[in-house]
Symmetry: C2
Subunit: 353 residues, 2 copies
């Protein structure tokens, strides 16, 4: 694999040359209504992005380039944000993990395994469905086995409360194109909430894509020989997000995933420096379940810094967050969210003076 | 995108240069035990492959090339094969659709939406979990809402019967490398069943891959410029499958997916001609839910052919299978499986003479 100089798309030229997804208007109408309700309720809102984006190689999609991401970070964090009283816009890769249902993956913890068919008192055969004279259906009850009840009760109770309160709004994307158009539009809607809006960008976004003009219509035939794919760079969207779409007031948290530990801090710092947002959370692919580093600006956290950058001339603050990797009941997202809720609270408060 | 002549891997050189997945021995031990039980029971077995294979671009996987496939064809067909009395080895892409749970996708039909917490007679608050003196837990029951019971009862009953009978064995793959090693090993185990084994190859397999020697260890840095990916062709495995791994007695059904209707029949016929197996099922990406074509050899179906190829000199038989696209209760896999069960029955019988 190699890279070479190429004409790069700016965010502006991207949106003027690529087509919006067909559902965009409908999706944004839903977001607008949700944001309006949260504004009336005085609630803070976090926009969580989660899962990987795809780059289709053909217009009739047979193959695509994907970014590895089950959506664990985003789906788990969304649950903790909801518990902390936030409203959440959860924009995730279709079919990737979601808050609540993430505990019941069909592969790992299939729910069909913990349902029992209660034998009815009338007969142990399959009764036909129908009503008795007083309107009660004669289908036997299907209930959760006793040993699974406690955990499911906990999850289900919060799930129902969230639905009753209307504090979770869900959107999906598949391609990097869907993602970019939605990211911009949702950010613009959320700018209404000014400092009360947080942006938690946990999605694994494609760095490279195929502009529509370069895509083939039909399935690329394998025939003989090797396949060459030449892709363009996806525009860096943190820049317009920080400077434009979020109205400059949002609390923006981005993620940096690396496989080479030596690159992690330098790249996280370079990102914060280049875009000027609030927090970069750095994580190593193989350690991300139990260790992350928060890179932020020194000025906002001068009161309670436990781990300051060793060099006092550095503008960056570096805080490591670790949990015990063997503690199976603990999820690092609980601590990530707790820390961000504190920092966002200070951000909102500093805007009120 | 372009293609150029390259050294192509044969199946032999593939397996001698690429590493087997770490779970291979464990997985095959499970298959061997399953196949032994079905042989004792005199049951026919179908090996169903389902979902897309991936080609990771890095050894520490951040990006990968994927083949579009939710796994609907394979998962749905597996259910109908089970209902027809077959034992099924279901080898699918991790997290893609599976028989039974496919009806309850967390995105489209989330099961959490149809569970109710029964109010206990003791209290309407969350009781602490614990046992009363006679051993009954005090957690409230969680049961399925009445309007969802009938459908779930149907699915759950078959699911439980299949588990009790031990007629479904599940394996997963992620990469095309996992897939190829498993395909060979499972086929070799199944060759024990001779004509009673059917192979239903519905997985969407990568045509191109990156040999281990060409993969980068770390995440490819995006930097400036475009990304070039050069990939080798995956060896055509139908050849060794037909001629070697399945012991020459298996009933092999492969699929051909095309986006260009004009290529469908020629390519399906070319595939059958090249490999000499039993059936190629051709489908157009945009019509596959309601229309497929069976390409097979004329000699095996001369007794009951309804749609013979117009040219009497063609060795191929072409049978179109269509359903009403607007009939939401009908799944085309029901008819595909019914037809294949008949044809496989004749295959088994013709071996007994």
């Amino acid at each position: 694999m190699s890279s070479s100089p190429s004409s790069t798309f700016s965010a502006e030229s991207y949106f003027s040359t690529q087509l919006p997804p067909s559902n965009l208007e409908h999706d944004i109408a839903g977001v607008r209504e949700f944001v309006g309700r949260q504004k009336d309720a005085g609630r803070k809102v976090v926009f969580v992005t989660s899962g990987g984006t795809t780059v289709p190689l053909e217009l009739n999609v047979v193959r695509f380039l994907d970014n590895f991401s089950a959506g664990t970070r985003g789906a788990t964090s969304a649950e903790y944000f909801l518990k902390a009283g936030y409203a959440v816009i959860f924009m995730h890769r279709q079919f990737s993990l979601q808050p609540f249902s993430r505990h019941y993956s069909h592969s790992i913890n299939p729910f069909l395994d913990f349902l029992e068919i209660e034998s009815s008192s009338a007969s142990s055969e399959l009764p036909s469905s129908g009503s008795t004279p007083n309107g009660v259906t004669s289908s036997p009850q299907i209930c959760v086995t006793p040993n699974k009840r406690d955990h499911l009760l906990e999850v289900l109770t919060v799930y129902k409360n969230v639905h009753a309160a209307g504090t979770l709004h869900t959107l999906t994307f598949v391609t990097v194109n869907d993602y970019l158009w939605l990211l911009r539009a949702v950010s613009q809607e959320l700018s209404l909430l000014r400092r009360k809006a947080m942006y938690y960008l946990a999605a694994a976004v494609s760095d490279f894509f195929l502009p529509r003009q370069k895509m083939s219509e039909h399935k690329i035939q394998s025939g003989k020989g090797s396949l060459h794919i030449e892709m363009d760079q996806v525009p860096k969207i943190l820049k317009p997000m920080v400077e434009d779409w979020t109205g400059k007031d949002g609390f923006i948290v981005s993620f940096k995933l690396e496989t080479d530990q030596t690159l992690l801090i330098p790249k996280a710092q370079a990102s914060l420096n280049r875009y000027g947002h609030q927090v970069v959370i750095g994580n190593d692919l193989n350690r991300r379940k139990f260790e992350v580093v928060f890179i932020s600006w020194k000025e906002f956290t001068s009161q309670s810094s436990r781990e300051d950058d060793a060099s006092s001339s550095s503008p960056f603050r570096e805080s490591w967050l670790r949990i015990d990797p063997h503690d199976r009941a603990k999820e690092i997202e609980e601590d990530i969210v707790e820390e961000l809720v504190k920092r966002h609270g200070r951000w909102v408060h500093s805007g009120e003076r």
